[in-house]
């Protein structure tokens, strides 16, 4: 494998890091979202935040899946 090709494959592997986003949002954001207000659709903010990321995580995962699939097919 030529050097240039290898860096490209590695560069594309970066897409696999998208999975870190849900961790940042659901774990590391906790100190900033631990509040009752503002309430969203009457839900306390923290619970609404978790619900929102339950819905957005599949979106993030889908983008990662698509990119990762393209990468795997090429290599």
């Amino acid at each position: 494998m030529a050097f240039g090709q290898r860096t490209r494959v590695r560069g594309e592997a970066v897409i696999r890091l998208l999975g870190l986003i849900p961790f940042v949002m659901l774990v590391f954001a906790a100190p900033f979202v631990n509040t009752v207000e503002p309430r969203i659709l009457h839900l306390p903010f923290f619970l609404a935040w978790i619900t929102i990321w339950t819905i957005l995580t599949p979106v993030v995962m889908l983008i990662m899946y698509k990119g990762d699939k393209r990468r795997r097919e090429r290599s």
Partner: protein, 479 residues
């Protein structure tokens, strides 16, 4: 009435399990991992089976009712467990396919080339499975007892339903489990969504008015640490990390990984499975409703059933009770099958009777189902409190398998002694902190502290002991 409905559904579940039986006498690969031929749906319900359990039903609503916000860790960690599965499961599956693994212990035995480590992993797995199995039994007994207003006693319900579980696990193996799991998930989600929406409407005129009332009268429940003193933000963070990392380390979730037909299934399921966790929100609604309607319950785990009892006619209570009962049977079936496989193949054959033929191992596995069910029944009925400490340690305990699994997947050169020492350190520290009342430790989940120490011990010893053995086989290596 309710009793008859529950009985009907329990028998139906058992029939579905029995019908999934394959023709002829199964071999161990067919019985334990379905001949590695499961498609997306069966792999899905096996991986999700652990989410909608008796615990979700009674325990989570009880947590919301009793503690409030610390229960937020459950929807958060379940979503993240599937994110992790995207990375973790395909390489585990590939190795399993190449070396014909049927259990977690097989994975350790082969990749660390160590019979001793394999036996240790199997024994630890079985030790943590038994109390978990007992918990499913106890939950089932409680549900049936309450739903029938005491007409059916807990022990009778446990005996009948677990005899049926043993029967379909014995005859149909993991395939029976998976089909019953399909029925269970449908019932469970119908039940949860139905009561999560209708209870607020019937009792408060809607979900929004109920949420407003909770925010007014019980504000402290809605943010960490809820009504607890020590389950604050740090506890939440460490617990979510620990439990999401540990989810697939349970032997009964690790084993079924090998049932999949190909590894793409895991990646596709990982995209959609987090959405499945939205159902948990409705359990929160039920918990909130109970909080407002029936404060001062003796046993918070009864919150869901008590609210249902107050809101609906008896037949509906029967349906909810049936969903709860079937929900206990499915994880119980997978737990039993896993423990039976570990016992027959990874303990008995590997450590005690190496001459056992493969067909004998299969027979012993299947008969062990009866023995393991009997042991769990004995504990549940006669010694309900004997295993409480073990149960408490369970989740944190099995998570300690993680370093060994990760090192193997990454193909790192680590001695089995290092992994074993890390594992025992992790479990020892967990047990010491939890039984000693030091959980959380400085606000951090004790299991997380133990996992960090486990990683340190395994890595440091791994560096010292390297070279004494060939490198672990990695998934990236081509066969």
């Amino acid at each position: 009435m309710a009793g008859a409905i529950i009985f009907g559904f329990v028998v139906l579940a058992a029939l579905i399990g029995l019908l999934a039986r394959q023709r002829g006498t199964p071999d161990l690969e067919g019985w334990s991992v379905g001949g590695r031929d499961f498609g997306a749906v069966l792999v899905w319900v096996l991986a999700a089976g652990e989410i909608y359990t008796t615990f979700t039903f009674l325990g989570l609503s009880g947590w919301v009712y009793g503690f409030g916000a610390p229960a937020y860790y459950i929807p958060a960690y379940t979503v993240l467990a599937y994110v992790i599965s995207y990375y973790l499961l395909p390489p585990i599956w590939k190795l399993g396919k190449r070396y014909s693994f049927v259990s977690q212990s097989d994975f350790f035995t082969k990749l660390y080339d160590s019979r001793g480590l394999g036996v240790l992993v199997a024994v630890v797995g079985i030790i943590f499975i038994i109390p978990y199995l007992q918990l499913q039994l106890t939950g089932l007994g409680l549900i049936v007892n309450v739903a029938t207003d005491g007409a059916v006693s807990g022990p009778v319900a446990m005996l009948v339903s677990f005899a049926l579980v043993a029967a379909f696990v014995y005859s149909s193996g993991i395939k029976g489990n998976a089909w019953v799991a399909v029925m269970k998930d449908i019932m469970m989600i119908l039940a949860i969504v139905a009561i999560g929406i209708t209870i607020p409407y019937l009792q408060f005129g809607g979900i929004a008015p109920m949420l407003d009332q909770v925010a007014e009268t019980s504000r402290e429940y809605l943010v960490l640490p809820g009504t607890t003193e020590d389950q604050g933000v740090l506890w939440y963070m460490s617990t979510v990390l620990l439990t999401s990392l540990g989810f697939f380390m349970w032997p009964h979730l690790f084993g079924p990984i090998f049932t999949a037909r190909d590894d793409g299934i895991f990646r596709r399921n990982a995209v959609a499975l987090p959405l499945y966790q939205l159902g948990i929100l409705f359990v929160f609604f039920v918990g909130f409703a109970a909080l407002l309607l029936i404060p001062n319950l003796q046993n918070p785990d009864m919150a869901l059933l008590e609210v249902v009892k107050r809101t609906y006619p008896n037949w509906f209570l029967g349906f909810v009770g049936a969903a709860g009962a079937v929900t206990a049977m499915v994880p119980a079936a997978v737990l039993t099958l896993t423990a039976a496989t570990l016992f027959a193949k990874n303990v008995l054959q590997r450590a005690i009777m190496p001459d056992m033929s493969d067909s004998t191992v299969t027979s012993v596995s299947r008969f062990s189902v009866i023995g393991i069910t009997a042991i769990a029944l004995l504990f549940a009925i006669a010694l309900p409190n004997a295993l409480v400490d073990l149960l408490l340690i369970g989740y944190n305990g099995v998570t300690q398998f993680l370093p060994g699994v990760l090192f193997a997947i990454l193909g790192w050169r680590v001695s089995p002694w290092a992994v074993g020492a890390g594992l025992l350190t992790g479990i020892g520290v967990t047990a010491f902190l939890m039984i000693g009342g030091m959980d959380p430790l400085l606000g951090i989940n004790a299991g997380f502290v133990a996992l960090v120490l486990n990683f340190i011990v395994a890595s440091v010893l791994g560096m010292i002991l390297t070279g004494s053995r060939p490198p672990a086989l990695s998934a990236s290596e081509e066969a």
